[in-house]
């Protein structure tokens, strides 16, 4: 089964737990596509970095458009206002991490000193 790995950044003013991120995305998929749609996504939360507010999700390749359409619809996480922005999508976890590191380096070098 082909899969896709999605790196997302959470935009919120409060501390957010790993489960809260997953349930917020899951809830959004359920609202937009119902249980049938959600069953096709095979969604998993692979990694969550609470310090950088970054998460890595895994989903089925076929359900990628569905997951990508549901993520921006998240407006609340754990009772507080929040937004989730998709950073990168990749076919393997290794390439996603490599691209993320590259992106972070690029944004750090672009920051004014």
């Amino acid at each position: 089964m082909r899969r896709r790995y999605i790196a997302v950044k959470i935009d919120s003013n409060q501390a957010i737990k790993k489960e809260e991120v997953f349930y917020a995305i899951w809830d959004s998929i359920l609202k937009m596509f119902g249980e049938y749609g959600a069953s096709q996504t095979d969604l998993r939360l692979i990694d969550y970095d609470s310090e950088n507010r970054q998460a890595i999700l895994r989903c089925s390749h076929d359900a990628l458009p569905l997951v990508k359409a549901s993520i921006p619809c998240v407006t609340r996480i754990g009772g507080g206002a929040a937004a989730i922005h998709i950073q990168l999508v990749s076919g393997t976890l290794n390439s996603l991490r490599r691209k993320l590191t590259k992106q972070t380096k690029k944004s750090n070098s672009a920051m004014p000193r």
């Binding site: 458009p65 990508k68 619809c73």
Partner: protein, 254 residues
């Protein structure tokens, strides 16, 4: 060639920011957030009569954030006479004119008037969305685009969101059939409702826009309007297709 196309696609524009202009901090926050999210230009909505100094203040905030500022006015005329009068008054002053069509007659007039850039409809009352085949046929003869505000998709829930999605799907299908450019904008009035341009393109999936069309709707389509109108507003514009190329001493002797 591919790289050139990618560069054109990456010029993302949010043509519809609706900050509370009384609150400068909120306006600044929204503009900075837009820059952070990857936009290169933002269209800020101003009322019809607004002081030039306030507009310049917003322009300055945009340039400090590294964004191209687009002056936009949303007209909400109650009848066609009011629409025509407003267009005559504003067309040579603002870069983008959007008409929020509250009645069918206004929608029809706006669709056939070349001075209108963008047609928009109520996101909350789908019965007041008058974009049908007849409207699209009129719009296809002018250069009017159809705008979808995406913030309502984020804050509406349940039945109202279902109705809106169903209507957007129908309108997107008609627009594609008649080659009407679609524009995806935020329509956000607070920073919490802003999303990345790529996220807006992904939301297009919900109403049947394929990813390439959706990306064009946040980049090339609004850019075409801006470029066209800036050419027209420049002092070198004389009439459709006629521009001043050289002046004074630059002109070669006959």
């Amino acid at each position: 060639m591919q790289r050139v196309r990618d560069a054109a696609v990456k010029f993302f524009i949010d043509l519809h920011l609706c900050p509370n202009l009384e609150d400068q901090d909120e306006t600044k926050m929204m503009i900075e957030k837009s820059a952070e999210l990857g936009y290169k230009a933002v269209g800020v909505t101003f009322p019809k009569k607004y002081s030039q100094s306030e507009i310049e203040k917003t322009r300055k905030i945009c340039s400090e954030a590294g964004l191209d500022f687009i002056h936009r006015v949303d007209l909400e005329p109650s009848n066609t006479t009011e629409l025509i009068r407003s267009l005559r008054l504003l067309r040579r002053q603002v870069e983008v004119i959007s008409v929020k069509c509250l009645s069918k007659s206004v929608a029809r007039q706006a669709a056939k008037d070349r001075r209108v850039d963008v047609l928009s409809f109520s996101p909350l009352d789908v019965r007041k969305r008058f974009f049908d085949s007849a409207e699209a046929e009129l719009a296809s003869k002018t250069q009017v685009s159809l705008e979808f505000d995406l913030a309502p998709l984020l804050y509406l829930h349940g039945y109202r969101r279902i109705r809106l999605l169903s209507k957007l799907r129908e309108e997107a299908f008609i627009a594609k059939k008649f080659n009407i450019p679609i524009i995806l904008s935020s329509g956000a009035n607070n920073a919490g409702l802003l999303r990345k341009p790529e996220d807006y393109a992904s939301l297009g999936y919900l109403f049947g826009l394929d990813l390439n069309d959706a990306k064009r709707a946040v980049s090339e389509n609004p850019k075409e309007i801006i470029d066209r109108n800036r050419r027209k507003l420049s002092p070198n514009y004389v009439a459709p297709g006629v521009y001043v190329i050289r002046r004074g001493e630059d002109c070669p002797d006959g």
